[in-house]
């Protein structure tokens, strides 16, 4: 097989995959009678038209990056974390609690403490499915989903009860359960005037570097990857697979928790119902789309931030509901996992290669 053919083959499969994804999305768009081309244009390019909107895309990319980093650590260690949504909610609660309890502490103390508290709450919420899988073989796919629902109820309970903004309980409230505005001492700075872009972006990049070092430059990371790539071989090699599985889930949860902490410290500055808004699920798509590698996750997070902002605009500009972004994310997962398998199938490549050979150089007469 020639190198040229291999590249051609891979590129054509990726192009086919993109076309399949766009076609599947187009079917839904046709069903609601929308202008397909225009909808895609709006989603992909409209948010890039003004610098204000670009910062909005970046703001969404921040939690997506952090969550996806965590999910990729878990995925690489052999456990699929679908519970980032719940872990993020727990992280927000942890952060809010610290901010409400110690509003007078100076910023250099309070901010790290609040973020750490968020990380710990998220880690705890990730630890539960990890330990359940390690000790009792409970499928993490199901336990993390269930923990999302449970966390959502915790979140509502705290926001409607102990953490409810006192202003909301009187008649003049906004009607949305939320905490009071948190102390300025945990606010992240917005460093471009007139936009909401906050310093959390640097923190996200910092975390990406940490994850890269952890997974590829340390013995711990190597063991985690071994546990994920082949649990049996890892066990044989003296690596405690279950231990690393629990650790990976805790790290994954901690990242989702931190994403929540950064989100309220940078954007909302208070805990509000519905803040997690599907970031946990989008994080899975970002992690997969980014090839489970920090260097891929950062651009992938930007791309999905773009989709989220773009989908918000489609309602106004082309009459397509914003839920369309969920449709696209679902499609993208289905297409990515399929494409990965097709690309990794040597049998198919061999078959195509033989066809290709027949096409390019017709067989000479074989001597009998």
């Amino acid at each position: 097989m020639t190198k040229k053919f291999k590249i051609l083959y891979k590129v054509s499969i990726i192009i086919l995959a993109i076309m399949a994804a766009m076609l599947l999305g187009a079917i839904i768009l046709w069903t609601i009678g929308a202008d397909v081309a225009k909808t895609y244009m709006v989603i992909l390019f409209e948010p890039l038209k003004t610098s204000l909107q670009i910062t909005e895309v970046l703001i969404r990319a921040i939690p997506l990056t952090i969550i996806a980093l965590g999910i990729s650590v878990a995925y690489r260690s052999g456990i699929i974390n679908i519970g980032a949504e719940g872990q993020m909610a727990m992280g927000i609660l942890g952060t809010t609690a610290i901010a409400l309890l110690f509003p007078t502490l100076p910023k250099p103390v309070l901010l790290p403490m609040a973020v750490l508290s968020g990380a710990l709450c998220g880690a705890f919420w990730g630890f539960i499915p990890g330990i359940l899988k390690a000790k009792l073989q409970v499928s993490e796919l199901l336990s993390t989903v269930m923990l999302n629902y449970i966390a959502a109820q915790f979140y509502t309970f705290f926001l409607r009860g102990p953490m409810l903004d006192p202003a909301e309980s009187t008649l003049g409230g906004s009607g949305t359960p939320q905490s009071m505005r948190l102390t300025k001492n945990i606010w992240l700075d917005r460093f471009i005037p007139g936009t909401r872009l906050h310093t959390g972006i640097f923190f996200a990049i910092f975390l990406a570097i940490i994850i890269y070092l952890l997974l590829w430059k340390t013995s711990t990371g190597m063991k985690m990857r071994a546990a994920g790539a082949s649990a049996r071989a890892a066990r044989y090699g003296g690596i405690s697979v279950t231990w690393y599985l629990v650790i990976a889930m805790a790290i994954s949860g901690a990242f989702a928790g931190m994403a929540g902490a950064i989100e309220i410290a940078g954007v909302h500055r208070r805990a509000i119902e519905g803040i997690t808004g599907g970031y946990g699920f989008s994080g899975i798509v970002v992690a997969l789309f980014g090839g489970l590698h920090p260097a891929g996750i950062i651009p992938a997070a930007f791309f999905f931030g773009l989709l989220i902002v773009g989908a918000d605009m489609t309602q106004r500009l082309v009459g397509v509901p914003a839920n369309m972004v969920n449709v696209l994310q679902g499609i993208i997962i289905l297409v990515i996992v399929s494409t990965k398998m097709v690309l990794a199938d040597p049998y198919l490549m061999e078959k195509v290669w033989r066809r290709y050979q027949k096409l390019t150089n017709p067989p000479k007469e074989v001597e009998a």
Partner: protein, 512 residues
């Protein structure tokens, strides 16, 4: 499609070629079998025997060539077509559904008993009885497959194939999991069957080939290297043709060893995956500087023993004393640190992480060792030097040390494992089927390495079902049967025959 009732008087395969990625599995193969004949298809592992048979059964489509039955060309698009033409195959790995009964397993292929909303199991039962009587093959139709022994499962496979109307049998290494006595019974049965059927019989056990077949075809690297009548050739001729050169593996000619006891296993009890006792009061001790061969039909507790010693399986009772320390129920990490080296049975999935590079696999057990990491950060330079050295020393054939270990050939994967285990300077080595499926060159290399380690004073437990391998290398030979050591013999006292009888579970102190 209706199953034909016509006898198969001749089957011919002409110029069959089949390619897999990077492998020419069948290369222009032709052969022919007449009525009532038994053809032995012989060759080493990977010679292409099974691929050829899967083509005959319609499981694979050949890239070139054709198949003729009674002189007429046939095309098999699926196994259904092959059944309809009267072919039937007993695969090496039995094709039975464990959580279904014998009856249901046969019903799965017996389409005469199917109607859209009902499965006529009574009809299947009648068919089984008919076949059982005709060939003297009795099975319990209501037993679940998982309850049956390997020998019984094979009988079910035979009955199944015959129930589906086979007039031509293909048997893929039918004796590989049988005891010598079960093997003898099978051979008698098959000979009797030739009054009704023709048979293709795949094997690499030359004695059976001599006993059973009329003609012989030898494959090597996917092509036919020899065809002829069985009676005209001796087993050693056939062996030479099979491997391409005279079989000459290194021998252990050293005097018996007098070293201290390294590994002492006392009253070991271990459960299998299915929950029954796979090791039932096993006792065995091995000195340093000696090779003990563990002979036995696979499935008699070999895997469980190796796993229990290495901390990979729970020990229910007994002790594993390693230089005085009890290793029972210690973690794999603990056992590794105690100086145990282990070449596992499943080299592709257990011995290496297939997606990891060679250099990563070579430090799989030592990633946290100060030699390769400092403050948890990996020391890349040392890791590369280690891999480069070992690659040369162990003759690992690969483009470089960064390629995925899973992309290597079986022999080279085994060398990676061996390199890692030996370079860790173990005090003891457990090698499970170390040369199974390898080409002779790699096998010879691995045997030489094991003998060298023995000379250096390392104790070795060699698990194998190849009696030649055991007889070549061992100082003493322990025979395992149903989770117990049947007997331990010195090499000079052991013969193929005496070992075969012990492996079958006959414990006879009389001279045989």
């Amino acid at each position: 499609m209706e199953v034909t009732t016509k006898k198969i008087t001749s089957l011919r395969v002409e110029h069959i070629t089949k390619r897999f990625p990077g492998v020419l599995a069948s290369d222009d193969i032709s052969l022919s079998i007449g009525e009532g004949e038994i053809l032995a298809l012989v060759g080493e592992n990977g010679a292409g025997k099974t691929t050829l048979m899967n083509i005959l059964m319609g499981l694979y489509q050949p890239d070139e060539g054709r198949i003729l039955i009674n002189g007429e060309e046939v095309r098999f698009r699926s196994p259904n077509d092959a059944f309809a033409a009267g072919l039937g195959m007993v695969h090496q790995q039995y094709m039975l559904v464990p959580n279904m009964t014998v009856l249901e397993n046969i019903a799965l292929g017996y389409k005469q008993a199917w109607s859209p909303f009902k499965l006529d199991l009574g009809k299947v039962r009648e068919r089984i009885e008919e076949i059982s009587k005709k060939y003297g093959l009795f099975v319990d139709p209501d037993a679940f497959i998982w309850q049956l022994s390997v020998g019984e499962q094979q009988r079910v496979e035979l009955v199944k194939t015959l129930c589906l109307g086979a007039k031509f049998l293909i048997l893929d290494e039918p004796t590989s999991a049988l005891t010598p006595q079960e093997t003898d019974e099978l051979i008698v049965l098959l000979k009797r069957m030739t009054s009704e059927l023709s048979i293709i019989f795949i094997s690499h056990k030359l004695q059976e080939v001599k006993d059973l077949s009329n003609t012989i075809t030898i494959l090597r690297h996917g092509s036919v290297v020899f065809q002829g009548n069985t009676t005209d050739h001796s087993p050693s001729d056939i062996a030479a043709l099979m491997t391409g050169h005279e079989v000459e593996l290194p021998h252990n000619d050293e005097p018996p060893c007098e070293g201290a006891i390294a590994l002492n296993i006392k009253n070991l009890h271990v459960k299998s995956d299915r929950g029954f006792l796979a090791l039932n009061n096993l006792n065995l001790s091995i000195r340093s500087g000696e090779i003990v061969g563990l002979a036995g039909v696979s499935g008699n507790g070999q895997r469980e023993l190796a796993e229990a010693i290495n901390g990979l399986r729970k020990v229910e009772g007994g002790e594993i004393l390693f230089y005085g320390e009890d290793l029972a129920n210690k973690s794999p990490h603990h056992v590794i640190e105690a100086g145990m080296g282990y070449i596992p049975e499943e080299r592709n999935t257990e011995g290496i992480v297939p997606s990891f590079s060679i250099k990563e696999n070579l430090i799989l057990k030592d990633a946290s060792h100060p030699e390769f990491s400092k403050h948890t950060f990996l020391r890349n330079k040392e890791i590369e030097t280690n891999a480069t050295d070992l690659r040369v020393k162990f003759d690992i054939r690969s483009p470089n040390i960064a390629v995925a270990a899973g992309s290597l050939s079986g022999g080279n994967i085994q060398k990676v494992i061996l390199a890692r285990e030996i370079s860790r300077k173990p005090k003891f080595l457990i090698a499970v089927y170390p040369i199974r499926g390898l080409d002779l060159g790699a096998a010879e290399f691995i045997h030489r390495q094991l003998l060298e380690k023995r000379k250096e004073g390392i104790g070795i437990l060699l698990v194998s079902e190849e009696l030649d391998e055991i007889l070549d290398l061992s100082d003493r030979i322990a025979v395992i049967f149903k989770g117990q050591i049947q007997k331990i013999l010195d090499r000079k006292d052991a013969t193929r025959r005496s070992l075969g009888i012990l492996m079958a579970g006959v414990k006879d102190d009389q001279e045989i």
